[in-house]
């Protein structure tokens, strides 16, 4: 693809991701400085910002530890039932945070507050770290480790100092997603009653139907996103070379013998997975049994499942289409423009779905009216929300496809577009497929924007679940929750499979 076309495509994609920001700017401008300062410069807002940052920091740290430890155990040790653990460890990603939070509340007495929310959020979001780190550990060449060992470094020092250091980019990318996810999450914090910024934004909408105040407060979230992005960027600065040099094929790495740590390692991993998957499973079964509110008719459930699949597929396709130029640009034409576009794509990612929803209502009403309350506008909202997930996947996949193959094709007289279609995309396809799976399952779980933007009269699994839980009809909600988790589990399983933890020889 010619570079100007790539840059134009990338700008368009970033334009979509910036719609919510433009909307916030317009609404904050209307509110005026007095209103902005009145809302933002208060002790209460300060406390909200502090709590949001603290929650993001705690959950991100916990996810980093859990994700890296789980990935290391299943790829680099002689852990028993390694492949089973490898898949199970990824599955919590299929559980929406609001379902997990409901499950914990109904299972544990007085389960609420900051640490409760931190626990639930860490359990559902550590796979964001686990998946890329596991893939990176499988792919890493053991040569460096062997050199360290041969020079007399101990096994553990080598593991920490050499192996883990090599997968640092994967850890940082996963941690960034977790941090932004925690900032934008509403489900868990609202059910577990932690007053953070997203919850306050929703509260303001409820309090006197104050749209303006809520949107002004949401601008604080954008500021926090910038802060997180800067921190991640800073951590990259000191990055060293991670790729292997020289020719030849890498060998699969050797596995560490756990020895007497085998038992504790199995127990620890089983405890994490048990808490993440077991508590929701038990609660779902109990919901099925409790109450007499009739589960919705099978037809309604099937309709909702069909709608969920359709809008999620549409959203995934659109998101990937937009992510492709951004990812290719930053992989092939690194530079200021690529970095800027890549970072800009993240800016809306920490905004709550409600704000994204309202901004797309605004966009639909004023700019793209024929699309309003059609599935297309909903797909556009998903793109604005989840663009970074796809961009990261495209970037990673394109970076792994050796540019030299493209150069050869070009030198043989092939046009750029032809090279993209026949060389670059096929090489990057598995990685892009992983991005698609991630975006798809995230679309399935999304609720607030879906509520505002879905076509009138259409229910998805997520909105069907919401409709029943909002009137405390848990028995009727259970089939929606179960089906949602089951469908989302399919791409999650596939994601864990492609990290390589399932292959017998690959590590």
């Amino acid at each position: 693809m010619p570079r100007p076309a790539l840059a134009c495509g990338a700008s368009l994609a970033v334009g979509v991701a910036l719609i919510p920001l433009a909307y916030l700017g317009i609404r904050a401008g209307e509110a005026g400085w007095d209103r902005i300062t009145e809302e933002l410069l208060t002790e209460r807002t300060g406390a909200l910002i502090g709590r949001s940052l603290a929650l993001a920091a705690v959950v991100t740290s916990a996810c980093t530890v859990l994700g890296v430890a789980a990935a290391f155990l299943v790829t680099r040790t002689d852990l028993p039932a390694r492949r089973l653990f490898g898949v199970l460890a990824a599955l919590p990603l299929a559980i929406p945070s609001y379902v997990a939070a409901f499950a914990w509340v109904s299972a544990v007495q007085d389960f609420e507050g900051f640490w409760a929310a931190a626990l639930v959020l860490a359990l559902v979001s550590y796979p964001y770290v686990y998946l890329p780190v596991a893939a990176a550990l499988v792919g890493v060449d053991p040569a460096q480790e062997e050199v360290a060992l041969s020079l007399g470094r101990g096994q553990w020092r080598t593991t920490v100092g050499v192996t883990l250091r090599q997968v640092r980019p994967a850890v940082a990318a996963g941690a960034l997603l977790v941090a932004l996810y925690v900032l934008s999450d509403f489900g868990a914090v609202s059910i577990l009653r932690v007053n953070v910024l997203t919850r306050a934004v929703f509260t303001l909408i409820n309090l006197g139907f104050d749209r303006t105040g809520a949107l002004v407060l949401a601008t604080a979230l954008v500021a926090l996103t910038i802060l997180v992005l800067l921190a991640e960027q800073f951590s990259r600065r000191r990055a060293a070379r991670y790729a292997r040099l020289g020719g030849g094929a890498p060998r699969p790495p050797t596995r560490l013998r756990l020895g007497r740590w085998r038992g504790p390692a199995v127990l620890g991993l089983a405890a994490v997975i048990g808490a993440a998957l077991g508590v929701p499973a038990v609660s779902l079964v109990r919901w099925f049994g409790e109450g007499v509110s009739r589960p919705g008719s099978l037809g309604e459930l099937a309709d909702a499942a069909g709608n969920s699949l359709w809008v999620s597929l549409l959203g995934t396709a659109l998101t990937l289409l937009l992510a492709l130029p951004v990812g290719l640009l930053s992989a092939r034409v690194p530079g200021l423009l690529a970095v800027a576009l890549d970072r800009l794509a993240y800016l809306s990612h920490a905004l709550p779905g409600l704000v994204i929803g309202l901004s797309l209502v605004f966009f639909g009403i004023n700019v793209a009216y024929p699309l309003y309350q059609s599935v297309w506008l909903l797909a556009l909202a998903y793109a604005a929300l989840f663009l970074p997930l796809a961009v990261a996947a495209v970037h990673g996949a394109a970076a792994q496809a050796p540019p030299v193959l493209e150069d050869v094709a070009r030198s043989l007289g092939r046009r750029r577009a032809y090279v993209l279609r026949t060389v670059t995309l096929p090489l990057a396809a598995p990685g892009i497929g992983a991005g698609a799976a991630l975006v798809f399952l995230t679309c399935m779980k999304e609720l607030p924007a879906t509520l505002l933007l879905r076509p009138t009269g259409m229910d998805t699994l997520a909105t069907g679940l919401w409709k029943h839980t909002s009137v405390a009809a848990y028995a009727a909600a259970a089939p929606y929750a179960a089906l949602l988790v089951l469908i989302a589990a399919v791409p999650t399983w596939w994601l864990s499979a492609r990290t390589g933890v399932l292959t017998r020889t690959g590590g």
Partner: protein
């Protein structure tokens, strides 16, 4: 790529954003003319209406289906949260595809009316409902009545200890024992009513008292009632029909629950009567299908449904409350006109400053 090489790109990106803005401004005018055109077209009956429902599907779907069957008019419904729907309507403005807004409380209707988005309702529609339960400018009308009550757990609160007035709940014996939902519209309406009846100072003291007395915060009324029934909370300030809803979900009789309603006596502000209601969007002001729908909501059949199925109070003459529910007139509720509850902004500020949210 160099900085200078990027310049045309940046320019085109900014140009794009600008164009977006211009289109936005231009189309707003276009929207208004177009809306006027649709309104004329709508005057003819097209046998279809679009309802935005801030009331939950399980409660209103049967009514809408009955109407559809009786009238032959297709009802398109969009279900959502009342507050988010009010925000959506405000955002959509005059281009909203909605004909009717069915809201859970008068405050949301007031917020939409304030933006000038509702059409005036005809006098004969308004006259079906007592003047206290409708907008004084005739832009919305109440459909059902709901009374504020104190739900209490019969194991934890002996009947003799039940308070005469909601103000007693700030006293030490209630410390940590009262659940409230301060983000809920009906709680806010109750606080606004308290300001109207007893003044801002006494209301501020009440809110501060609740905070100091460790009031337990919940998202909504159904959570409070569920917690009162399970014994996690001794009591909570809610609307009267939530215990009936819980009984229905649990498949038992309301008398079999641990949670009971206590109606404050002597016109205490703790038993304010609020409404759920309906407003017609400007574009559908003279749509006969919509008119038929509003008439239906205020007709005997729908009112009887609400009385018997959702345990709310019917607002028209000739339909009685559900059996077992004290009649509205016997409750001795405070004489508050819902139209006096329009200063929500101050109430919100007071709730925020009290630290309860």
């Amino acid at each position: 790529m160099t900085i200078s090489g990027m310049r045309p790109l940046l320019a085109s990106a900014l140009g794009g954003l600008l164009a977006l803005g211009v289109t936005a401004c231009g189309s707003e005018q276009a929207a208004q003319t177009e809306a006027a055109g649709t309104a004329e077209a709508r005057a003819r009956t097209d046998e279809k209406i679009t309802v935005y429902s801030g009331r939950s599907e399980s409660l209103v779907k049967p009514v809408l289906e009955d109407f559809q069957e009786a009238s032959g008019i297709t009802v398109e419904v969009r279900y959502g949260d009342t507050a988010q729907m009010a925000a959506q309507l405000q955002e959509e403005g005059s281009r909203s595809p909605a004909d009717v807004f069915l809201a859970q409380d008068a405050g949301a209707l007031g917020a939409v009316a304030e933006k000038g988005l509702f059409a005036k309702l005809p006098e004969d529609v308004l006259d079906k409902v007592p003047s206290a339960y409708r907008d004084e400018d005739g832009e919305w009308v109440g459909v059902t009545g709901r009374v504020r009550t104190m739900a209490y757990n019969t194991d934890q609160v002996p009947k003799d200890n039940l308070p005469e007035s909601v103000f007693e709940l700030t006293e030490p014996e209630w410390k940590g024992k009262v659940g409230i939902a301060p983000t809920n519209g009906s709680f806010q309406a109750f606080i606004t009513a308290m300001r109207v009846e007893d003044g801002d100072e006494k209301t501020e003291d009440f809110l501060a008292g609740l905070k100091a007395n460790d009031a337990q915060i919940r998202e909504g009324n159904s959570q409070i009632v569920a917690d009162v029934n399970s014994g996690r909370l001794a009591s909570g300030l809610v609307n009267h029909y939530y215990v009936y809803e819980l009984a229905k979900e649990e498949g038992t009789d309301v008398d079999a629950l641990k949670a009971r309603n206590h109606f404050f006596p002597n016109k205490d502000i703790g038993s304010l009567v609020n409404v759920s209601g309906v407003g017609v969007l400007d574009r559908a002001g003279d749509d006969t299908d919509v008119r038929e729908f509003v008439d239906y909501l205020l007709g005997t059949q729908a009112q009887t449904y609400f009385a018997e199925q959702t345990y709310e109070y019917p607002l028209i003459d000739g339909v009685d409350a559900a059996p077992g529910l004290p009649s509205l007139s016997s409750l001795n509720t405070p004489d508050i006109d819902l139209n006096d509850l329009d200063d929500l902004a101050t109430t919100i500020r007071m709730i925020k400053e009290s630290g309860l949210v």
